[in-house]
């Protein structure tokens, strides 16, 4: 079966079968499927397969090159970890949705043509929505609704771009595009929406914190990183991405500092990390692309780890707000340690995975002498140590003791976190295996004295500032509040728009009814009834005036005319009747 189906379809078929399986089989199947697919990708030589013709288009369901292979690997690795984490969830909806979602991500990654890419793109959008809906709360339903609307819009942008490309004679095969013309820009915007590039980003921080504890792990991996992959494939070297990416590293960190919900802090942090990747894609050199791809690889692991830690806390305590948490290290020491491994990795501490990947992007910016960008990226690195490096573990596991006492989660969740943490440390200490599967040959040494000392100074003197700010009481207090972001425009703005449309359009409707249907039609009706009199009067009165009829005789003539019109006894009527009679006689006699 394995070799008779492309890996993405394997997941879709699996998703359909899962609800029919007995419990034990189901659990084994969910772990075995991504492992089998991983083995299959490992064994497949680079090249294209499952290629066939459809509606005059050459579709390719498996295009394996050095770029798509890395992403396929990491998507499958995180699927194994994610399904292990979700193993004890008794909800087939979530399992099926997650399998479809993973299949969609894999399909996008391995697709060789725009048509199949689009299909898998939409499968991802729909399947991921169910991971949010599966929380079965009012807030989750509302967030899922906004999420799917935004993604359908993004999908339409992509589709429009693809259709324009095809109709302009461009091939259906996915290849590099120049960022000029409507078609390329539409494709770019469609991808940018899934990559959560500001201001197209708020769906992410809106929806991910509402997902189920296990669903958020899959969400954190697939949508944004498949967008990173396709952006890398199609728009590498597009200069606009350098600035967009740098802004994207900085913009979310302010929100992450202020945000109260841990999973929302992690959502903002996710955008910040994708910002580095976008910047790397924009720089476009081999070092930058290698940096982007390796950073995506590492990021998926440590971000999933952080979402698993937050998910474990949520599962065990039912809480996810900083204001409700604190002191959990006392009874959840393993979760605390794994969370800190994730924090150290995302902060790019030496010996942890972020260090060996992010530094490639920052170095690439340095090599190109992009001075402002370089300062922005370093500033953002300090921002990461604040919110993801310190804030998340500190306010959850240390800080003020909330009095909550919950134990570490069940074995499968602990192991899933442990495996992800092992990857984070393993890659950080031995980056070579990761470097060897990157798209280009790597000529980069992360562990130099200057780099290690510089990075430690940057991070730990930031940490020193945190210590001083906490003790001085200046560090922003955790408060139960939300912060306005761009989703205001469609949440409040949308409501105002609906009201405006309601008042505006329904107002126009009512006015139209009053003026057009009642007033105007009545007027037309009256006019039509009186038309002969009015028109005749309009013609005759000036004539009578012209020949000198004035005063009482004129009034008399008007009355005669009206009466004559009313009973049809007008001279012209007699003339017409005579003419009609004549015609009849001629017709009968002839």
């Amino acid at each position: 079966m394995i070799s008779s189906l492309p890996p993405a379809l394997l997941f879709l078929v699996g998703a359909a079968l899962v609800p029919l399986m007995p419990r034990g089989v189901k659990k084994a199947f969910m772990l075995a499927l991504p492992l089998a697919a991983l083995y299959m990708i490992w064994q497949t030589p680079l090249g294209t397969s499952w290629s066939f013709s459809f509606l005059d288009m050459q579709l390719v369901l498996l295009k394996l090159d050095r770029l798509s292979r890395v992403f396929a690997f990491i998507f499958l690795i995180i699927s194994v970890i994610g399904f292990l984490f979700a193993l004890k969830v008794e909800d087939d909806l979530q399992h099926s949705a997650a399998l479809c979602y993973a299949g969609g991500a894999l399909g996008v990654t391995l697709a060789g043509d725009w048509f199949s890419l689009y299909i898998f793109w939409e499968i991802m959008a729909v399947a991921s929505t169910f991971l949010i809906l599966a929380s079965r709360t009012k807030a989750a339903r509302a967030a899922a609704f906004r999420y799917i609307l935004v993604h359908l819009f993004g999908g339409l942008l992509l589709l429009a771009g693809i259709v324009l490309t095809l109709s302009a004679g461009g091939g259906v095969a996915i290849g590099a595009l120049k960022l000029e013309g409507a078609a390329a820009w539409l494709i770019f915007l469609g991808i940018a929406l899934n990559a959560a590039i500001p201001p197209l980003h708020p769906w992410l921080k809106d929806a991910y914190p509402e997902a189920t504890p296990t669903g958020a792990v899959f969400l954190s991996a697939f949508t944004t990183k498949s967008a990173v992959y396709i952006m890398c494939r199609v728009f590498a070297g597009a200069e606009v991405l350098i600035w967009v990416g740098a802004i994207m590293t900085i913009f979310p960190i302010f929100y992450a500092v202020l945000e109260n919900d841990i999973r929302r802090v992690l959502s903002y942090s996710l955008m910040n990390q994708v910002g580095y990747m976008m910047c790397g894609i924009g720089i476009g050199t081999t070092l930058a692309i290698n940096g982007t791809v390796s950073h995506a690889f590492c990021h998926i692991l440590y971000k999933a780890l952080l979402f698993m830690a937050a998910g474990s806390v949520l599962t065990m305590t039912g809480r996810s707000r900083c204001t409700d948490l604190g002191g959990l290290y006392k009874t959840m020491p393993l979760t605390a340690i794994f969370c800190m491994v994730g924090s150290a990795s995302i902060s790019a501490f030496p010996l942890f995975s972020g260090f060996v990947s992010k530094s490639m992007i920052v170095s690439a910016a340095g090599l190109q002498h992009l001075t402002v960008i370089w300062f922005m990226l370093q500033f953002a690195s300090v921002g990461v140590i604040d919110h993801a490096g310190i804030k998340v573990p500190y306010f959850t596991f240390f800080g003020h003791d909330s009095g909550v006492r919950a134990s570490d989660p069940p074995w499968n969740m602990t192991w899933a976190m442990g495996i992800a943490a092992a990857f984070c440390l393993g890659i950080g200490i031995f980056p070579q295996p990761l470097y060897s599967i990157l798209p280009f040959a790597v000529d980069y040494a992360p562990y130099t004295g200057a780099h290690v000392v510089g990075q430690l100074q940057l991070l730990l003197f930031g940490a020193l500032a945190f210590v001083l700010l906490i003790y001085s009481g200046y560090y922003p207090a955790e408060i139960r509040a939300i912060n306005l972001d761009f989703d205001w425009f469609y949440r409040k703005g949308g409501r105002a728009f609906a009201r405006l449309m309601d008042r505006g359009l329904n107002g126009i409707n009512a006015a139209s009814d009053r003026w057009l249907v009642s007033d105007l039609t009545g007027a037309v009706n009256r006019f039509a009834r009186r038309a002969p009199v009015t028109i005749s009067k309009g013609v005759m009165i000036p004539l009578w005036r012209l020949v000198g009829v004035r005063g009482w005789p004129l009034e008399q003539k008007k009355r005669d005319l009206e009466r004559g019109m009313a009973i049809g006894a007008l001279p012209v009527g007699v003339g017409a009747a005579a003419a009609a009679l004549m015609t009849l006689i001629v017709f009968v006699l002839s």
């Binding site: 302010f254 009874t331 370093q378 604040d386 940057l458 940490a463």
Partner: protein, 80 residues
């Protein structure tokens, strides 16, 4: 349920902070021992990264607190 209480003791927090300060001092010292290969001239300035990290952190917090004045809303803001 077994409970760890290591940080309930203020002395342990003090020890942790002292360890951090010693490590920071070591980093400041190490700056003079390493061979710097820089993309930009300021990277070779003494203790550049320490100063930049510290100042960025302060700037981030000051800006974030300022931003909070404008964007903070009640939790039920969108439900109203």
């Amino acid at each position: 349920m077994r409970e760890l209480k290591i940080f309930d003791n203020p002395a342990n927090i003090k020890r942790l902070l002292i360890a951090l300060f010693i490590f920071l001092a070591g980093l400041l010292g190490a700056d003079f021992l390493i061979h710097k290969h820089a993309h930009f001239p300021w990277e070779t300035a003494p203790e550049f990264y320490a100063a930049y990290g510290f100042l960025c952190y302060l700037l981030l917090i000051v800006l974030a607190k300022t931003l909070r004045i404008f964007i903070k809303r009640r939790e039920d803001y969108y439900d109203q």
